[in-house]
């Protein structure tokens, strides 16, 4: 028998927060920042030996050179920075920004020294105090650079959150009950309506509850007790259809029933276990839903037997369901949840791990 294959699915590392500085939009933002800084510096400078407009006219192009130089350097090294941890990448970016500022300041100073004689009109536009000029430039670029990096970081995080929420909402929609299940249940109810009206009535009630749970707000977190109840309702409906072929063993007594979990966590896994496992076995089998609390962590697993040669397309559906639960767990417990699947020739098991969050009474 082949060794069981294991796969661990973790939410992918977030994309690097620094934008692509080669993009026109970002270059525009950088130029804008430079010009705003030029304006602020000129305003702060107050009346000196130059009037406001001359002061602005000499500061703005200087900062523009720094801005474009920085954008160019960051554009070139972005891919390399993206591979570093965020803190180190940010520090490196800041060093580069200050470095570019110093280099351009130095060039400006040298240029003034060689072409503009002190005392002339042109000479007055260039700095005369070499060291102080460089230090001031370095400090200002350090502060502005840090603020700009922070701005890019926050914007990026915000956009990522919006995207993740949108994706989670779409996935929650996809997680909803398979049409296959709906139509088969309708068929079962149609059959029971005459042969056993009482059971048909119960089946309709169960189906209504199940859809209510499915149609509720996708992001809602519900007590574990309710989530298990939804899964049990689902089991009842499937039992009517599959008869003795379906058995479900619940090993969940030790779980804290008040713990909050994302809704539709267990029911889709049970649905998968039946759709890919039990339903495809002529003699049926037993699905085991087990849960335990390990300190501050909850572990839930659903295991089922599978036919020896499942079709490739059938597994595809399962992969989507797993990806979707991974996403929703990640949204509920960022960086603290895990999902593990173990597939052997005879069985399939999914284990979810996430923090146990119990609301105060």
């Amino acid at each position: 028998m082949p060794a069981p294959t294991q796969s661990r699915e973790e939410p992918g590392a977030a994309a690097f927060y620094l934008p692509d500085f080669c993009a026109t939009r970002i270059v525009f933002v950088v130029v804008l920042i430079a010009e705003i800084v030029a304006l602020v510096l000129t305003l702060a400078h107050g009346p000196g030996d130059l009037d406001f407009w001359t002061e602005l006219a000499r500061t703005a192009p200087f900062l523009l050179w720094i801005a474009l130089g920085t954008a160019f350097v960051l554009c070139v090294v972005r891919a390399r920075l993206a591979r570093l941890p965020i803190a180190r990448a940010s520090a490196m970016a800041l060093v580069l920004i200050v470095g570019v500022t110093l280099v351009i300041s130095e060039l400006a100073y040298r240029f003034g020294e060689s072409f503009a004689l002190p005392g002339t009109d042109l000479g007055r536009l260039f700095p005369s105090d070499h060291a102080a000029f460089l230090i001031r430039g370095g400090l200002i670029s350090f502060i502005i650079g840090a603020l700009a990096l922070r701005y890019f970081y926050v914007t990026h995080e915000w956009r990522r959150n919006v995207e993740m929420e949108a994706r989670a909402r779409i996935h929650a929609l996809q997680a909803r009950i398979r049409p296959h299940f709906l139509f088969n249940s309708m068929n079962t109810i149609a059959a029971l309506t005459r042969s056993d009206p009482r059971q048909a009535e119960e089946a309709v009630e169960d189906l209504a509850d199940l859809f209510r749970a499915n149609l509720s707000e996708a992001r809602a977190q519900i007590p574990l007790k309710e989530e298990l109840e939804v899964a049990r309702i689902y089991q009842r409906i499937e039992e009517l259809r599959l008869g003795a072929r379906l058995k479900v063993e619940w090993q969940v007594r030790d779980l804290p029933m008040r713990a909050l979990v994302p809704s539709l966590l267990i029911q889709p896994l049970l649905e998968n276990a039946i759709y890919h496992g039990i339903e495809r076995l002529p003699a049926g089998g037993t699905v085991t839903v087990a849960g335990e609390r390990d300190g501050s962590v909850l572990r839930l697993s659903v295991a089922n037997p599978v036919p020896s040669e499942p079709g490739a397309r059938e597994r595809e559906g399962n992969r989507i369901a797993i990806a979707n639960i991974t996403q929703r767990l990640e949204l509920a417990f960022p960086g603290q949840s895990g999902i593990e699947t173990v597939q052997t020739t005879e069985s399939y098991k999914v284990t979810l791990t996430f923090p146990c969050v119990e609301p105060a009474l």
Partner: protein
């Protein structure tokens, strides 16, 4: 119009069968002659009862409806087939494309009546095309063989080897040898993942290879579990055989 039709109901879900049987009863002039819960049972019953029409569920464990229909089409007098399904997008598309009769569950009485009136035998070509789009039926789970007057379904995983033999192919199975009218080439196309060609005239099951032995003439021979004489491996195919055994498939 539907008078006197003898119908076999096949579905793995008991409530679904009950409902169809009741609908047929209520039509009045038709008769449900039997019911089956698996594709295998359906074929055996169809062979014994010779129904006019089979209402055949697509999604069943083991042998599914599309595969059962393919075996049915090899019968001397195949029954008409009406597929039933609750929801299978791939199947619905295929039925529409190939004009094969089907009913959606829960089945409406009028639709059932209309389908029975128009019930037809799907052609083998139609069924082969259906099987192609089916996620499970592209590869049969069983081979149907006829022994004197009984229909026998050999699970493919029990078959030891297919041997080309003039215009027939012999199936080697622990219970005996059976003749079918399929070419080794088409069998290899269908079951190539589990069977390996060791000779121009032999396709053997990888899972039943017990040993590969050196023959007296320096070539190789394969011994299969539960069979007496080893099968010769042609020189040309020896390398491929060893590679497949090493890679476990």
């Amino acid at each position: 119009m539907t008078s006197g039709l003898r119908i076999l109901v096949v579905d793995d879900e008991p409530p679904a069968r009950d409902r169809l049987k009741r609908l047929i009863d209520e039509l009045g002039d038709c008769e449900c002659v039997g019911e089956a819960g698996t594709g295998e049972d359906a074929l055996k019953l169809a062979d014994q009862l010779k129904p006019d029409v089979i209402l055949l569920d697509i999604r069943m464990p083991g042998m599914d409806g599309v595969e059962a229909a393919r075996h049915l089409s090899d019968f001397d007098e195949p029954p008409a087939v009406i597929f039933t399904t609750a929801y299978d997008q791939y199947a619905l598309d295929a039925f529409e494309t190939h004009a094969v009769g089907y009913l959606l569950k829960p089945v409406r009485r009028e639709k059932l009546e209309a389908a029975l009136e128009g019930a037809m035998r799907p052609t083998r070509a139609q069924l082969a095309r259906l099987a192609k789009v089916s996620p499970t039926a592209a590869r049969r789970s069983h081979i149907a063989v006829r022994t004197r007057d009984e229909l026998k379904l050999l699970p493919v995983e029990e078959i030891r080897a297919f041997m080309a033999d003039q215009k027939y192919t012999t199936i080697r199975h622990p219970e005996g040898e059976y003749l079918i009218e399929e070419s080794l080439r088409s069998l290899e196309d269908e079951f190539g993942t589990d069977f390996v060609r060791i000779h121009r005239s032999a396709l053997v099951a990888l899972r039943h290879i017990e040993a590969v032995e050196r023959a007296a003439d320096g070539g190789y021979a394969v011994r299969l579990r539960g069979t007496a004489e080893p099968l010769t491996v042609s020189r040309r195919l020896g390398g491929e055989l060893v590679r497949r055994i090493r890679s476990g498939g």
